[in-house]
């Protein structure tokens, strides 16, 4: 087959999530470049489409890639709302879609589609392990806080499930209007509730603001701050001192001590002049998944059933540790407990090994 493999990248290249879109693209391209820029012996053509992280445009953008550009694989998106819109078209068209970030649980559970893979995480997967960690650290009463949107609530639900199962109590769940970053009144509320710890999910600018305000309010000393890894991911420099000591759980840390990661980090730094983050790894693993899958098929993508089958059975020695896929095409991976020390995510322990997510609704 002489034609190039067409990869449709439906990622945000403008707006709030730009950094994520770029990191994923970088990681993906790095993986493929390492294979000489080829997949299964075929050239690769990238079609980058700005998803603007705008869900209302998602179906038409997806349709453009699938029906217009006729891509072989769609890679995207970052944003869960966009994912919903994409998956709708993925279902109709059967296009193979690899989600390199969006964490909505339904994607690999209720919405169950054989042609959809995820190389990232689900909200639940990254927060569930923290429940036990928090309890083990001796916290009994916890306040949770997040934005009032689907992703945030899914994340808190995972934490709560584990934490209450252990016997802890959620004294208050605070939902902040999305995407407000005005946290002062909530911090005052937290101070007056005097919980043992706070668990939080915010991301991007919101994460930075929250952690900074939390520290500036002097709460960090008296009430430990726990969070999903996205609170601090990609935000280390922006956080500065305020981030020191914050504990989070995530399926990756840039300091992970394994060969794959060390090789990845230095290759990434070489290529792009900056440290990789989780998003870059997710992009990278997406690339590696394609590399492995297509080399097994010698680049033959004509038989879709076979292709799906091969991809589903890919197993990677990823920078994040061992990575394989569940029946619902969701990653089975380690989740690490990380603490920020000297501006780096140091791995404290493996919070949960080879964690598989609940996917009763999707058994393929």
């Amino acid at each position: 087959n002489e034609d190039p493999v067409k990869l449709g990248l439906m990622l945000p290249y403008s707006g709030t999530y730009t950094a994520l879109g770029e990191a994923i693209t970088n990681g993906l391209k790095l993986a493929i470049e390492q294979e000489g820029g080829q997949l299964g012996g075929r050239e690769v053509e990238y079609i980058e489409l700005d998803s603007e992280a705008d869900p209302s445009k998602a179906p038409q953008n997806m349709s453009r890639l699938v029906n217009g550009d006729k891509v072989d694989f769609v890679i995207g998106p970052v944003h869960s709302g966009v994912a919903m819109g994409m998956l709708r078209v993925a279902k109709q068209s059967g296009a193979i879609t690899i989600i390199p970030n969006a964490g909505l649980g339904a994607a690999t559970n209720e919405l169950c589609m054989p042609n959809v893979f995820r190389t990232s995480f689900s909200m639940w997967q990254d927060s569930y392990p923290m429940g036990k960690v928090a309890y083990d650290q001796g916290h009994r009463k916890i306040v949770t806080i997040t934005w009032d949107y689907a992703g945030g609530k899914e994340d808190l639900a995972g934490f709560e499930e584990a934490f209450t199962a252990e016997g802890g109590e959620i004294v208050e769940q605070i939902l902040v209007p999305f995407p407000s970053t005005e946290f002062q009144s909530y911090l005052t509320q937290i101070a007056s509730l005097e919980p043992d710890a706070v668990y939080t999910f915010f991301a991007g600018g919101g994460g930075v603001s929250f952690v900074k305000d939390y520290a500036a309010a002097g709460l960090k000393e008296s009430i430990p701050l726990l969070g999903s890894g996205f609170l601090t991911e990609g935000n280390l420099t922006a956080l500065g001192d305020a981030g020191e000591g914050v504990m989070t759980t995530l399926h990756y840390a840039e300091t992970l001590d394994n060969d794959a990661n060390q090789a990845f980090v230095s290759a990434y730094e070489n290529a792009y002049g900056e440290m990789p983050d989780t998003y870059a790894v997710q992009g990278y693993d997406t690339g590696m998944m394609l590399v492995q899958g297509l080399s097994e098929l010698d680049g033959d993508t004509s038989d879709q059933e076979r292709l799906i089958d091969v991809l589903a059975n890919v197993e990677l020695e990823s920078p994040r540790g061992p990575l394989s896929f569940s029946d619902s095409h969701h990653p089975i991976q380690n989740v690490y407990l990380r603490e920020i020390r000297d501006g780096k995510h140091e791995v404290v322990s493996i919070a949960h090994e080879n964690l598989e997510v609940p996917d009763e609704a999707c058994q393929m």
Binding site: Q60, S63, G68
Partner: protein
């Protein structure tokens, strides 16, 4: 304000309509394997044209600039999404009235409140109501929050067991949307030329005087607001049908801004202009997005340029083409003339009483 245009407007619009309607005949020859995708895109443009046209009634005809019109678009989408059964298609026969009913009643409710304000305040209040519904939907569990909801099956249009139009077929759906657009167009055209439309013109020009003459201006404005809302909701419903998906972003203010842009690009107050505007906007967007990931700069500059040099939009170009204007023009450049005559108007007080 006369709503009478030169013959060529009708001719151009007829040709364009015929061209669009005949897409199935030539689409494949031009776009090859991409024809299906282009059909889909075209369908979307028809839907957006209906949406933009509905806004024209408010902005172009009554002179009420709404920055919350997407509210109705999203409302139509969500009504369909939430009222559709999970495992079987809904019937168009009651889905359409439902969408119209819901949007009309919400339009009435919001209308009563916003109609009291004017000018900038109307812009801002509609914006606020739009955002209110946006936040309401995006924090509501039943509506799927920020993730939105799926519509599993497209509604069907059938009498008894017999399918009238198979809406699942992209071609039928395309013609269905085209039909809706044409109905909307002729309805609005009739409306603006009717007595009702003249009253709206009067309100646009000098509402106070209309009141002094004895017109219940709020009533007329309210009706126009509701009609515009219902039409936008139908467009929203069609959009949701096309992709089987409803999302809060459909009712955010960015969507309202975009549809305003289509309106101005096409030429407001003309009814046919917004149709052209919707097509032009979508085509430009498509080209820019293809060209670069920095497309917002191109789009932004296009918008700015359109506002500065094409205040009457594409419709203005057709109604009074530049070369025609030149013929009876002596020497002064067009821009200067316009400025001059406007200067005079504004020396006389703008607002009375």
């Amino acid at each position: 304000m006369l709503h009478r245009y030169p013959k060529r407007v009708a001719i151009i619009m007829l040709i364009l309509t015929a061209l669009v309607a005949a897409f199935p005949l030539w689409g494949e020859a031009v776009f090859g394997t991409q024809a299906n995708f282009m059909l889909e895109k075209l369908t979307l443009m028809l839907i957006l044209a209906l949406f933009a046209m509905s806004l024209d009634l408010l902005v172009g005809i009554v002179g009420l600039v709404s920055l919350g019109h997407a509210l109705f678009f999203g409302l139509g989408a969500y009504t369909l999404a939430l009222a559709s059964p999970d495992f079987s298609p809904a019937s168009m026969w009651w889905m359409l009235p439902l969408v119209m009913g819901v949007s009309a009643s919400i339009g009435l409710f919001i209308g009563v409140l916003v109609i009291r304000t004017k000018g900038i305040f109307f812009i801002m209040t509609t914006l606020a109501f739009g955002q209110m519904l946006y936040y309401f939907i995006s924090t509501s569990q039943f509506a799927g929050g920020t993730d939105g909801v799926f519509i599993m099956f497209r509604p069907s249009l059938a009498i008894g067991e017999r399918t009238l139009v198979d809406l699942d077929n992209p071609y039928s759906f395309f013609y269905f949307c085209l039909g809706m657009l044409l109905i909307g167009y002729f309805f609005l055209r009739w409306l603006t030329r009717s007595y009702f439309g003249q009253v709206l013109d009067g309100i646009h020009d000098n509402e106070h005087r209309m009141q002094a003459l004895g017109y219940a201006t709020s009533g007329y404005k309210l009706i126009a607001f509701v009609i515009a809302g219902v039409m936008a909701a139908i467009a929203g419903m069609l959009a949701a049908m096309q992709y089987g998906f409803a999302n809060p972003a459909q009712l955010g203010w960015h969507t309202s801004g975009e549809v305003l842009m289509m309106l101005i690009l096409g030429g407001m107050g003309t009814i046919f202009g917004p149709i052209l505007g919707a097509f032009a906007y979508e085509i430009l967007l498509f080209i820019y997005e293809h060209a670069t990931t920095h497309w917002p700069i191109l789009m932004g500059l296009t918008i700015i340029a359109a506002v500065l040099v094409l205040p009457r939009g594409i419709a203005g170009l057709i109604i009074a083409p530049p070369w025609q204007r030149k013929r009876n023009n002596d020497d002064a450049p067009a821009a200067k003339k316009e400025q001059a005559s406007e200067a005079v108007q504004s020396t006389t007080p703008r607002k009375e009483g």
